[in-house]
Symmetry: C2
Amino acid sequence: MSLLVVGSIALDSIFTPFGETADALGGSAVYFSVAGSLLHPVQVVGVIGHDYPAAELDRLGTRGIDWSGVERAEGESFRWKGKYSYDLQSRETLETRLGVFADFQPKLPERFRSSEFLFLGNIDPELQLGVLDQVHRPTLVVCDTMNYWIQSKKPALLDLLGRVDLLLVNDSEARELSGDWNIHRAGRWILAHGPKRVVIKQGEHGALLIEPSRTFYVPAFPLETVFDPTGAGDAFAGGFMAYLARTRSVSEDNMRRAMVYGATMGSYAVEQFGIRGFDNISLDHVRQRVHLFRDLTHVSLAEAVP
Amino acid sequence: MSLLVVGSIALDSIFTPFGETADALGGSAVYFSVAGSLLHPVQVVGVIGHDYPAAELDRLGTRGIDWSGVERAEGESFRWKGKYSYDLQSRETLETRLGVFADFQPKLPERFRSSEFLFLGNIDPELQLGVLDQVHRPTLVVCDTMNYWIQSKKPALLDLLGRVDLLLVNDSEARELSGDWNIHRAGRWILAHGPKRVVIKQGEHGALLIEPSRTFYVPAFPLETVFDPTGAGDAFAGGFMAYLARTRSVSEDNMRRAMVYGATMGSYAVEQFGIRGFDNISLDHVRQRVHLFRDLTHVSLAEAVP
């Protein structure tokens, strides 16, 4: 089944205690598709400026990413510059230059409109709604958002929530959106506003899948080396959605497996700067790491209550 | 097998966004034994002042707590006063009055010296070492500590680490002790300094059991109502140790089950003020909640990799 992502394509300059990069490939659509394409082909809709290194995107395209929906516009590409604290627990945005992203109006090529799995990356909720109007009958629509839109475009965001199947956000976004600091109540609030499911990412603490009557928890993969948390959430989304597209099922059990694939992709993202963590990763590597998750939470409770 | 805890017995005054308590029963030995006694009898060594409501301890004693090792000294009881932030994520100590706890020198009654499971609650590591000198051949020795001792008594603490089987601390303590912000590297550091295993509690994010070649993760029980985080870590320790004592095994598999019992007891602790969360809890309640943990992380990966 076809998988489509609409999101940002950026040039990131990142400072961590372990080094720095300048103008490296980044943005939600890039992390999503680099991670997801390990499992399933990905179609991308986005915008780049005249200065974007398109040859580098093309090289990634050999993995199964279709960049043909990416528009090249007049002007500079979207740039983000950020600096992480010594323990990578917090980051400061040093500079955001929207460039061509400021006037981005996603237009889906006709051949993308029948995509069955759609991920609406973190962009203006009005644009996310506009994308929804262009697709035919998707099997699963998942969206992300961020605090900026929660504060500035709440009515559009609530409208969007009523039209998506699953909201995938991090814990601070879930708290701000719901106005509730308790993450489980925040999840309930979101379910009451439209989506049938919500995934709440908690960084180094893993992620929750909250459904009306069940909650599933996947831990983060235990890593002794973390270089750069940038893009981990979008890589998680890419693994999650691409696993569902690959296996053609949105059952509860399959959603749980998709969570493990998401967590696996997130773990590769943070092991190197930018998207480099995926450089030498094959599907076999992914399978091996997925199976390591099994032992991480496995406990036999059958004989637990003497 | 007999289970012994040595720790503080306090009167806590706690302010949370949901209310307050004054001079309520608290302290590591109290939380530990109230939680643990749901699974196995607990022997307690500690000290109280002339003003401690001993009748309230006696009432708890009917659950299987042996307070006969608690010394009543001249002077006032240990008092702690603290205030939590609106989201319960941080707390401020408003007042600490050590009282009789300042001169506490744990002396084990002869009948306690053959205890097989020993928990050294968070007290001066020199006193913890003194307790170790009084016990015969315990099957399992677990200790806790806190940032204050890491800063002021590191040599004694390192000496202690060489003599215990398992260190049970929270994440900030593990980080400070090891000097490493990465929690998995911090765990390795601790294993290299003596204990065969380390349990790292992460509050609302659950807890890790780190062993030389495996890591186990138990999430916190998903609670939509949290009133008071005080004592959750000691209740976790009580559930963990009492489960091991009840089942008479320190195998890897049993340690994992004990982690789930610990997390279950921690969840009761936070649902009400002080120890009240345990007021109406029976072993059947515990069993039911333990089994709810199974679904929380259960994922079938057998068919995960088509």
